[in-house]
Amino acid sequence: MSALTKEEARGLIQEVLELYPETARKDRAQHLAVNEQEGQQSNCIVSNRKSLPGVMTARGCAYAGSKGVVWGPIKDMIHISHGPVGCGQYSRAGRRNYYVGYTGVNTFGTMNFTSDFQEKDIVFGGDKKLAKMIDEIDALFPLNKGVTVQSECPVGLIGDDIESVARKSSESLGKPVVPVRCEGFRGVSQSLGHHIANDTIRDWILDKQPKVDGGPYDVAIIGDYNIGGDAWSSRILLEEMGLNVVSQWSGDGTLAELQRCSSVRLNLLHCYRSMNYISRHMEAKYGIPWLEYNFFGPTKIAKSLREIATHFDDTIKEGAERVIAKYTPMMEAIIGRYRPRLAGKRVMLYVGGLRPRHVVGAYEDLGMEVVGTGYEFGHNDDYDRTMKEMGDATLLYDDVTAVEMERFAERLRPDLIGAGIKEKYVFQKMGIPFRQMHSWDYSGPYHGYDGFAIFARDMDMAVNSPVWSRLKPPWK
C-alpha cells in the first residue's frame, strides 16, 4: 500500500502548487496527479507541453534526443555536432552506449566531431564549412559508413541548407549523409528530437533501401541503447529462444543493421517513446508488426518472452519456455537473496523514455513498491501505459520541477529514489538512497535475466549502504 491516502496525496500536490505564482500554478496543476488504477486513463494528466520558463526542469532538447539518443549510438557512422562547440562537448561519451569496435577507425561513438561555429559561420552560413568537413571526415576516417549532421540551434536560425549539402556530399562519397533538423529550440523536450531522427532514418536510410526477404525467425531489437550493455543481455535471450536478431539499434548498431531492418518478421521495441515512430512506419510500409516488450525483472521478462513467441511457431514458443526455465533457478536465487533485504521498501522514480513504467515490475519482483513516478518527456500514451502499472493513490508527475520533487520526497521519505544525475546529489544530501536510472549509475546492464541480477545487487547496495545511518553526528 502506498504511504498516502488519495486525499493526502491530493493535499500534498496542492501544497506544492502553492509555491508558484498564479499562472505557473495553473500550468503545473495539470501535470501533477494522483493515480487511480481504474480511472479515466491519461485524461488526468497533461504531458508533452512546454516547460515553464525559469523553473528547474530536467528536460533536454531536440538535439539531445537525436544526437544523444537515436543517432549517436549508431557506431560506424560519424555524427557531426553542427554548430557551436558546446552541445557536442557536453554530449560526448555521456550515455554509456557500449559498442564493440575500434574507436577512431571503424567506430566513433565516444568521439566528438563538431563544426565549432565561430562568428563568421553565423554571419556567412556554415554550409561550405559543412561540405568541407564531410570531405575531411572521409579522408581521415575512410572506414566510416556514413555521416549524419546534427543541427544545433543556430543552424536552423540562420537558414543553412544542410539538406542540399547532404545530398551533394552523399553523391560524391557514395555513402549516406543524413541531415537532421534537431535544433534545440524545436519542440518542448528531447522527445521531438527522437521523432525527427526517426523520420530521417525513414527518409534517408530505410526508404532508399529495397526490401529484402529474410528468414522466418528474423527479428530486430529497436530502441535499446545498450546502456552498460543492456541490448546484449537482451539479445542473448532472444537468440537462446531461437530467434535470429539481424538488426539491433541504435545501441551497438551499425548502418548495415539499419538497412537490413525491412527483412524482419517482427520489430521488437524496447523504448517505445524514442522509436515507436519508425516502428509504425515499417508496419505501414513493409507490413512488419512491432511489439513493445519489457525486459526488466523476471516477471516482465517471462511475460515478454511469451508474448514475443506468440508471433512465431512452436519451435520459438518452446524456445521461450526453455529460456524461462533455464533462468528461473537463478532468478529465484537472486530474489531469495535480495527480497528479504528490500521487501516493503518504497521507491520514487523520475526518468525518461520507458523506464518510469518498465522498471516498476522489477521493483515488485524484489518486493518493493513504486509510490511515485513521472516522465521527463513522456506523452499521453506513456501515461496510459503507466497508470496500469502503478498502485492507487501513488503520485504521477510530468516534467516534475526540482522544487516539486524535493517537496514530494521530503513528505514521502521514500527508501530509494531512481532519477538522473541532476537529481542525484540533492537527494543523497537529504539522506535518501539514490540510483541514477538513466545511466544505471555507471553499472548495468539491467535488462534481461543477467541484468536483473545486477539490478537487484545495485538496489540493495543503495538502500542498505551503511552511509545513510551516519548523516547525524553521534553527539546530536
Binding site: G54, C87, Q89, S115, G156, A256, K422, V426, K429
Partner: protein, 524 residues
C-alpha cells in the same frame, strides 16, 4: 550461464564470458558489414603514422575531440560563486540541462541553474515573454538575492536585447525593481567557457558598482580583491583564502563557489551556500588592487572594467602555480599591502622545495605533453620546468595567438622549455597524432585524455603514454576536484601525482620475473 546469485558479474566481467563473446562475434560477422580485423589493424596503424599526421594537420573545417566548451558554462560557474545567486540562462533549455550535467559529473554536487525554455515561437518572435515569465517564476520559486542572466547561442543569433528585456520585466512588475539582475551576453560561437566567465564577471561587477563608482576610492578599504577565474579545484579557493589570512591581508574573493559546490550530506539540501556577498562586490572598487590569478581568463573584459571604471591598476599576475609564480604572487600581495610573508608560508614553501629535491631525480629530463585552458597550461608548464620536466607538446584549444606568444616566451626562458612545441587552437585529435609522432613520458590533462592513452596502449605497451588527470573536467576519477593545484600546497599535490605516475609506470615495465625486473625496487 555465467551469472549466479553468489557471484554477480557486472558488465565488465560479464561480457568477457564465453557466451557473450560468441554472441558478439557472431553479430559482427553476420550483420555488421564490418571490415576484417586485419583491415582494422592496418587502418589503426595508419592513423598513428606521420602520413596520417600530415593529413590530420591539414584539416581546416573539422574539429575532433575539442579541448574546450562554450561560453555560458563559464558564466554559470562564475554566478554560482556569489551568495544566494541563481544562474539564469536566456535561451533554449537543453543547454542548461547540459551545463548542470557537466558540472554534476565533475563536482558530484547538485547544480542549481534555470533557463527560460525558449522554443520555436521565441525563435520567431523573440524571447521577451520567456524572460518575463522566467524571471517571475525563478524569483518566486527559488527566492534568490541575485539572478545572474547569461545567454545561449539561440538568443544571440536572434538578437534578443537582454538589458531591455530585464528592465521591462521589472517595470511591468514581474519581479521587484530592487531585485538584483546582472547579465552578460555569452554567445557560444565566440571564445569558450573561459570567455563566458570573463563576461559574467564583468557583468556582475558592472551591475553592482557602475552607478556608485564615483563614491569609491581606490585603496580606501585596504583590501585586495582576487578573481579566481574558471577555477574547478575547490582547494584553490580555500588556498587563496588561507594564504591571505596567514598574511593578515584583508581580501575579497570575487566569485567563490567552494561552499555551494561542497555542501554536507546531513539530511538537508542547501541550494545556496556561501559565496561572495553584494556588500563585498560593492566594496571591491575601494580595494588597493584586483589580482586575477587566471590572467588570460579574466584579462579581457573584466580587467578593462577594473582599470577603466574602478581605476585600479589591475596588474597582471601570473597564475600562482608551482614555486616561482607562487613566490611572485605572495610578493605582489606583500608589496601592495605592506604585509610581510609570514614564516608559516616560508615553511610551506620550504616543504615544497624539499619535495622537489627528493623527487627531482625521477623527473629531470622527462617529457610531458599537456593540454587545457590557457592559464592552467601556462602555470603547469612553468611548474614542470621547475621540476626539470620538459614540456613537449603544449596544446591550448581556446587561446589567442597573443597568449601563444606569451607562453612561448615563458618556455624560451627555461632550458627545459627549449624542445616544447606549441599548439594553439588545435584539438585532442591533433594531440593524438603528436604523441604518436614523438612519445612523451606522460600526459597532463582532463579525463578526455584517457582515449589517447588507450590508443597509445593499443599500439603496444612500449608506446603507452600514461595520463595524469589534472584540469577540467575530471569525470572518471572520484574527488580529484577537491584538491589544490595553486600555491605551494598545489605544487605538492601536482608533484606527488606526477612522480608517482612515473614510478608506477616503472613498476609496470619492470615486473617480469627474471626478464624485466631489474629496477623493480622496493626503495625509491
Amino acid at each position: 550461464m555465467s551469472q549466479s546469485a553468489e557471484n554477480i558479474l557486472p558488465c565488465h566481467p560479464l561480457f568477457r564470458e564465453p557466451e557473450y563473446r560468441d554472441m558478439l562475434a557472431a553479430k559482427a560477422a553476420r550483420f555488421e558489414n564490418k571490415a576484417d580485423m586485419e583491415k582494422l589493424e592496418e587502418t589503426f596503424q595508419w592513423t598513428t603514422s606521420p602520413e596520417y599526421k600530415e593529413l590530420n594537420f591539414k584539416r581546416e573545417a573539422l574539429t575532433i575531440n575539442p579541448a574546450k566548451a562554450c561560453q555560458p558554462l563559464g558564466a554559470v560557474l562564475c554566478a554560482l560563486g556569489f551568495k544566494d545567486t541563481l544562474p539564469y540562462v536566456h535561451g533554449s533549455q537543453g543547454c542548461v540541462a547540459y551545463f548542470r550535467t557537466y558540472f554534476n559529473r565533475h563536482f558530484k554536487e547538485p547544480i542549481a541553474c534555470v533557463s527560460d525554455s525558449m522554443t520555436e515561437d521565441a525563435a520567431v518572435f523573440g524571447g521577451h515573454p520567456n524572460m518575463d515569465a522566467g524571471l517571475k517564476n525563478a524569483h518566486a520559486l527559488y527566492k534568490p538575492n541575485i539572478i545572474a542572466v547569461s545567454t545561449t547561442c539561440m538568443a544571440e543569433v536572434i538578437g534578443d536585447d537582454l538589458h531591455a528585456f530585464i528592465t521591462n520585466a521589472k517595470k511591468n512588475g514581474h519581479i521587484p525593481m530592487e531585485a538584483h539582475t546582472p547579465s552578460a551576453h555569452t554567445p557560444s560561437f565566440v571564445g569558450s567557457h573561459t570567455t563566458g566567465y570573463d563576461n559574467m564577471m564583468e557583468g556582475i561587477l558592472r551591475y553592482f558598482t557602475l552607478n556608485e563608482v564615483h563614491e569609491k576610492k581606490v585603496g580606501s578599504n585596504g583590501k585586495i580583491n582576487i578573481i579566481p577565474g574558471f577555477e574547478t579545484y575547490l582547494g584553490n579557493y580555500r588556498l587563496l583564502r588561507r594564504y591571505m589570512e596567514e598574511m593578515g591581508v584583508e581580501y575579497t574573493l570575487l566569485s567563490d563557489p567552494s561552499e555551494v559546490l561542497d555542501t554536507p550530506a546531513d539530511g538537508h539540501y542547501r541550494m545556496y551556500s556561501g559565496g561572495t556577498t553584494v556588500e563585498e562586490i560593492k566594496d571591491a572598487p575601494n580595494a588597493i588592487d584586483t589580482l586575477m590569478v587566471q590572467p588570460v581568463c579574466t584579462g579581457t573584459k573584466t580587467r578593462k572594467f577594473i582599470q577603466d571604471t574602478w581605476g585600479q591598476p589591475g596588474q597582471a599576475v601570473l597564475p600562482p602555480m608551482g614555486l616561482e609564480w607562487t613566490d611572485a604572487f605572495l610578493m605582489k600581495v606583500s608589496e601592495l599591502t605592506g604585509k610581510a610573508i609570514p614564516p608559516s608560508l616560508e615553511l610551506e614553501r620550504g616543504r615544497l622545495v624539499d619535495m622537489m629535491a627528493d623527487s627531482q631525480a625521477w623527473l629531470h629530463g622527462r617529457k610531458v605533453s599537456l593540454y587545457g585552458d590557457p592559464d592552467f597550461v601556462m602555470g603547469m608548464c612553468k611548474f614542470m620546468m621547475e621540476l626539470g620536466v620538459e614540456p613537449l607538446h603544449v596544446l591550448i584549444h581556446n587561446a589567442s595567438k597573443q597568449v601563444g606568444k606569451r607562453l612561448k616566451k615563458i618556455l624560451d626562458e627555461s632550458p627545459f622549455g627549449k624542445s616544447a612545441q606549441l599548439h594553439i587552437g588545435r584539438d585532442l585529435w591533433h594531440l593524438r597524432s603528436l604523441v604518436f609522432e614523438e612519445r612523451p613520458d606522460f600526459l597532463i590533462g582532463n579525463s578526455y585524455g584517457k582515449f589517447i592513452q588507450r590508443d597509445t596502449r593499443h599500439k603496444g605497451e612500449a608506446f603507452e603514454v600514461p595520463l595524469v588527470r589534472l584540469g577540467f573536467p575530471i569525470f572518471d576519477r572520484h574527488h580529484l576536484h577537491r584538491n589544490t593545484t595553486l600555491g605551494y600546497e598545489g605544487g605538492m599535490y601536482i608533484l606527488t601525482e606526477v612522480v608517482n605516475t612515473l614510478l608506477a609506470e616503472l613498476d609496470r615495465k619492470t615486473m617480469g620475473y627474471g626478464t624485466t625486473d631489474y629496477n623493480f625496487d622496493l626503495i625509491r
